[in-house]
Amino acid sequence: MKNVFVWLVALGFAWGAAAVGVAEEKEQPAEIQLPPVPTHWKAEKPVGTSAGPVTPDMLRASQIPADRWIQYGGNYRNFRHSPLKTLTPESVKKLAVAWAFPTGTVGQFEASPVVYGGVMYVTSSYNRLFALDAKTGELLWRYDHKNAENLRLCCGPPNRGVGIAGDLVIMGTLDAHLIAFERKTGEIAWNTEVANYASGYSITSAPLIVGDLAVIGVAGGEYGVRGFFDAYDVKTGKLAWRHYTVPAKSEPGTETWAGTSYERGGSPAWTQGAYDPETDTLFWTTGNPSPDWDGDGRAGDNLYSDSLLALEPRTGTMKWYFQFTPHDVWDYDGNTQIFLVDAKYEGKPRKLVVQANRNGFYYILDRSDGKFLKATPYLEQVNWATSIDDKGRPVVNPDALPKEDAKFRTCPSNLGGMNGSFTGALNPDLGLAFIPSSEACQVYSKGISAFKEGLPYLGGLPDTVDATAGKAYGNLAAIDVATGQVKWRYRDNRPMMGGVLSTAGGVVFSGNLEGEVLAFDAKTGKVVWRFRSGGGMRSQPIAYLLDGRTYVAVPTGSFSTMDSFAAGVTKVPEGGTLFVFALPK
């Protein structure tokens, strides 16, 4: 924090000097040279020293101890389920604000904080990274990434958090870098350019740490990039492998793209995957093919867009894949949160991977071989496909295809359903997955587009008719993980686009775009607590226990443009604030 003092002194000196100059030489007013704004404040002394390095074994634990939150998904299975039994439908009524922290930025505050060694590491929009005392909120170190002005962002400036490995915390940036910081001091350990942002790439996701690798994917499906995800050596930042999600010339899969359309095929990988330590399998998901809403020039299934890939984590070699939406022309990225769950399926224990897909169907697959088992709608409105056949292929409704003079109201909207920008949660004791979603339909039009590197490549647009008319709404649904049956729904006036936290005490936390943080009874869906934060909730909440006290952390703050797109014009202002609540001691 000394830097701040130095700059204030410098600023004061500049003002003083300027004032003297003006007094003595009235004919030539002095120009005041303001010092550059500092962007990096390192810790004055090492922080979080009570804990040693984060080890692979810590990350592999199926139930991570309550004094930490070290995975974006809660654990490798992505359950986002805290072991805390102190957070019950009764006790949450006693939650009160322990501390709050402003990010100083606008745009979506989508992060899942990480807590380790009593320190919280949280990222804001535009890639600010803060290290905070997790009990008091005291700012320990801070880094503001200097992004380029001409970023290639389709949908706002979010970041969803850091990965933590050894003594490093690792953040991806909107200008497509991956940067590692010493967790105790904030010093930069390495900074690797993942891709040239000017070509249409960006990173919004938190990296997934697997062994000594940090796995990270790129966004860019609205720019006709060639999608990929990478693994980097955690210690050095050197690339270990890259897995392209679109084949190159003469590679298998090009036959699913007309002509050379694969060269600008998109299929980004902008969300986090999952890892199965038992079978040493990495799972990753992919987004929409480019251009989004005009498939005429890319006839075929367009592999490996909108897919789930199972891979060998040491090499990135693919074991199997499953494509949810072949030849997508609605922007139904296949990259919503996947859960790795062991459950009885039709009476037999199975190792499953399940997903509430952006296209409105809840999928159940066998994660050992990718075999499709079942898909059922989890939304109240789905009409782009009439069903999913027994091989997992959608039966497309021809009326729902984008047209030049479109009139048909197609459901869900291009945002989903669920969306990769927010998480669900899974309570393994109840066998329920908690899925936030948007209930909105759109009229999909196609038009004229041409590819040029670094420029939007869209091909059409979804006319947000429901959102514009104020008819878009949202649900938080509890879904039986092994059947897809919806057990309960909570309905909100606007789409539910905030992430979810589940607790062993039987509570589910989320929030809404109106600016409320909400807690639900996990068994019934009844709202048992609400807090007016003032900012739309787009983040991934967490819980942790320190010195016997239970905390719940909820970043708040949304992005008006996407709110308007999803739900109609909003009066809720932007601005990120992290709220941390605590139960009484």
């Binding site: 005009d294 038009g447 004229i448 059409g460």
Partner: protein
């Protein structure tokens, strides 16, 4: 009657002045957008380019302000003449999400002019045109 005579004289003078001023500066050449505006097929191509390239997560097809402004309310932040709108589309706006489209559309500058023609045809100028010059 003298008032009538005076009025006629003033009208004559005004007409003469009008004639003189019309002869002095040459009329501004018609913009390509104005020419395309008379061709329904060109306006429709401008519409389809807008749908395929400019809408979606950027400019709304409705009169809705996002971080990308509405282009149908006749309020122009960077100048509202055909040439100024063309320049913004062509060169982009530094520091914003608006990129430079020059050379990026299938039929080059003509396609940009067609988009300008479409925006003119689809706009509702409730409060008049701002930023015209």
């Amino acid at each position: 009657m003298s008032r009538v005579a005076l009025s006629l004289a003033l009208v004559a003078l005004a007409c003469a002045g009008s004639k003189d001023s019309a002869q002095a500066p040459a009329a501004a050449p018609e913009s390509p957008a104005a020419r395309f505006a008379r061709d329904p097929a060109a306006v429709d191509r401008g519409r389809r380019i807008f749908i395929g390239t400019c809408g979606a997560y950027c400019h709304s097809t409705h009169d809705v302000e996002r971080d990308a402004p509405s282009l149908f309310d006749c309020e122009w932040k960077h100048g509202g003449s055909d040439e100024q709108i063309f320049a913004v589309i062509s060169d982009g706006v530094p520091g914003t999400r608006m990129p430079a489209w020059k050379g990026a559309l299938p039929e080059g500058d003509d396609d940009i002019w067609r988009v300008v023609a479409y925006l003119r045809s689809a706009s509702t100028c409730k409060g008049g045109v701002t930023g015209a010059h």
